[in-house]
Symmetry: C2
Subunit: 360 residues, 2 copies
């Protein structure tokens, strides 16, 4: 048996207001006055001076606002990289992503594509990246995806939705400032938080489970229960704990894998552009068969927080479209092997997946 | 408020048998045929072919057996560094520590002192190290100290027992192979496991606590209870979980601090050479006043596992000797501030500490 040698985020700050230290951190990383820092910032923060006044722009640094309304695309990565190369004579000193999973994944991918030839789609898969990425920093402003800690950056390409999984993907620096999540709308808070919850369920119930992933997964699961079920926390405590849940949930799947919900949700996203958090929820809601207890508690939390999920998202799809989703989902072999075991192909048939998708 | 920007271990492997991958890992890190890897190995493994046959020695690599019977010393670090420099023409490709906290701390310190002038004692303190350490790998063979994850290497110097705390201290690579701990003697298993338990208690009850440290500390505490109290685990599960408890306990104090037990235990070690694990136990056993519930559970575990602690270790000491211990303990200001709060000097007097030491 050969084990993964997992690359970790190099440095981490945690604390309310730690975002204020971004300037100090970057000042030691600037290569020269002409090598800019590129800030990729969720465009919900346009005009938000509470955030923007603290983004330490200097010299030729550039701030690019990015919409997180759609899942990140390989073509989008290529466009941002081109824009950076055309605007600046020197290679940037670093890329700083400030936002949720979409922005963080874009920041990771852009930092890789600055130093690697070709297009982002060429690197979707496992360990295809040749050259070290440039310095990159992640500042999550919404908690749950675990993008701040993982060695992947999940992108929708022309042929597939799949991550750039590489040792160069993890951030060199992460700033965990829970205060930055205070204005996340409730439905988004729930969907993204549930991404973390589902990571735990899929990791803890997977065949790849090991004591490493279990300890992280159990802790993230406990934190999710404190936040979404028990509800005895102050707003600040809930923000702090959800940020840590996201981190631990990310570490849990880092060393194991996700499962059925993620595989099927990737299919939905690829075909319909469904955002990852809500997509996971839509799928997971129908997975009692695989995760009985986990789905039961999920429904309880959904009810408790008054969340209504979209229904019938697959109602008008034709067979061709179902086939596309099923192809994407079945392509994620490690996820199925983790969820079901080595003989997963005997259980997970195309018909089975179609029946499940039809319920959604 | 300024937060710590914590440097993480760069890479981590977890799994039973993962030690077999050491050769593969090192092969990509060898600078050239004349730049050796130096393996610092606990001398309990002398003649142990189960371990030794898997240490991938090649070219001019050197294996140095080291006794862990005493706490690591700054003078010992200087001697090992001198031995390495005199034996090899080229700077080593890396230092690999295979052992418990003593060996791991020596490996970290040696990797620093290869690239920094002067003596190890010059760097005892916080952020005194100027130059990056050489590549260094930690392979724990006993679980609990958290040395595999921390940014310190605790050394006894001529004037003090204090760590070299620096951003260059953490390992570049850690191999967590719980199987390597299978032959640890029971008393040692208990004392070192309790080091982890005490880390959790001190972190969770400290004024420096934050959601980051809390989540790690709570998980490590839960794992300690599974291992030392509930006792429903197979040997293998207990080994796996204790290795993760040590990791999480280390992460918990990494981002907060230890407390009364560690401060006073450093005094004992400095004066009497008491090993860290047992020293912590001897001290903690008398700290009901500070950690009521924690000490209660500790005594339960001690009884359950039939552990008898030495008594009267301070019985024959004179005032001069008490003063030495008290000076060492009081010198560790952050530990006291974490344990008691900013006004700790009003509570922790020299008389108070003497009275406590006299009980031990």
């Amino acid at each position: 048996m050969k084990y993964k040698n997992y690359p970790m985020v190099s440095r981490i700050i945690f604390g309310r207001g730690s975002f204020n230290q971004l300037g100090d951190i970057l000042s030691t990383k600037r290569l020269n006055a002409k090598a800019p820092f590129i800030f990729l910032v969720d465009d919900v923060f346009k005009g938000n001076s509470w955030i923007n006044s603290r983004i330490p722009i200097a010299y030729d640094d550039q701030l690019i606002y990015i919409s997180a309304n759609e899942e990140p695309k390989t073509s989008q990565v290529d466009e941002i990289v081109e824009q950076i190369i055309l605007t600046h004579k020197e290679r940037p000193s670093g890329i700083i992503g400030i936002g949720g999973g979409t922005i963080l994944d874009l920041a990771k991918a852009v930092s890789i594509m600055i130093t690697n030839k070709g297009e982002a789609k060429d690197y979707q898969g496992w360990d295809l990246v040749k050259n070290e990425a440039i310095y990159h920093v992640g500042v999550p402003t919404i908690s749950g995806t675990g993008a701040e800690v993982s060695r992947t950056t999940v992108l929708t390409g022309p042929e597939k939705k799949l991550g750039i999984n590489s040792d160069y993907t993890p951030f060199d620096q992460v700033i965990l400032d829970p205060e930055l999540t205070k204005d996340v709308p409730k439905d988004q808070w729930f969907y993204t938080g549930m991404d973390c919850y589902i990571h735990c369920i899929e990791s803890l119930n997977g065949t790849y489970l090991n004591a490493f992933s279990q300890s992280y997964g159990e802790k993230a699961f406990e934190l999710c229960k404190e936040i979404f079920v028990e509800n005895n926390l102050s707003d600040e405590e809930a923000q702090d704990k959800l940020m840590m849940a996201s981190w631990h949930g990310g570490m849990s799947i880092a060393y194991s894998q996700v499962g059925v919900a993620h595989a099927m949700s990737y299919g939905l996203s690829y075909l319909l552009g469904t955002k990852h958090g809500i997509g996971n929820c839509i799928v997971f809601n129908h997975l009692e068969e695989f995760y009985t207890e986990g789905v039961k508690l999920f429904k309880q939390m959904k009810k408790y927080h008054g969340i209504t999920l979209p229904e019938g998202v697959c109602a008008d799809l034709d067979d061709y479209q179902f086939d596309i989703m099923i192809d994407v989902a079945l392509g994620l072999e490690p996820l199925w092997e983790n969820a079901i075991g080595k003989n997963w192909k005997q259980v997970i048939t195309r018909d089975k997946l179609k029946t499940l998708y039809q319920k959604m």
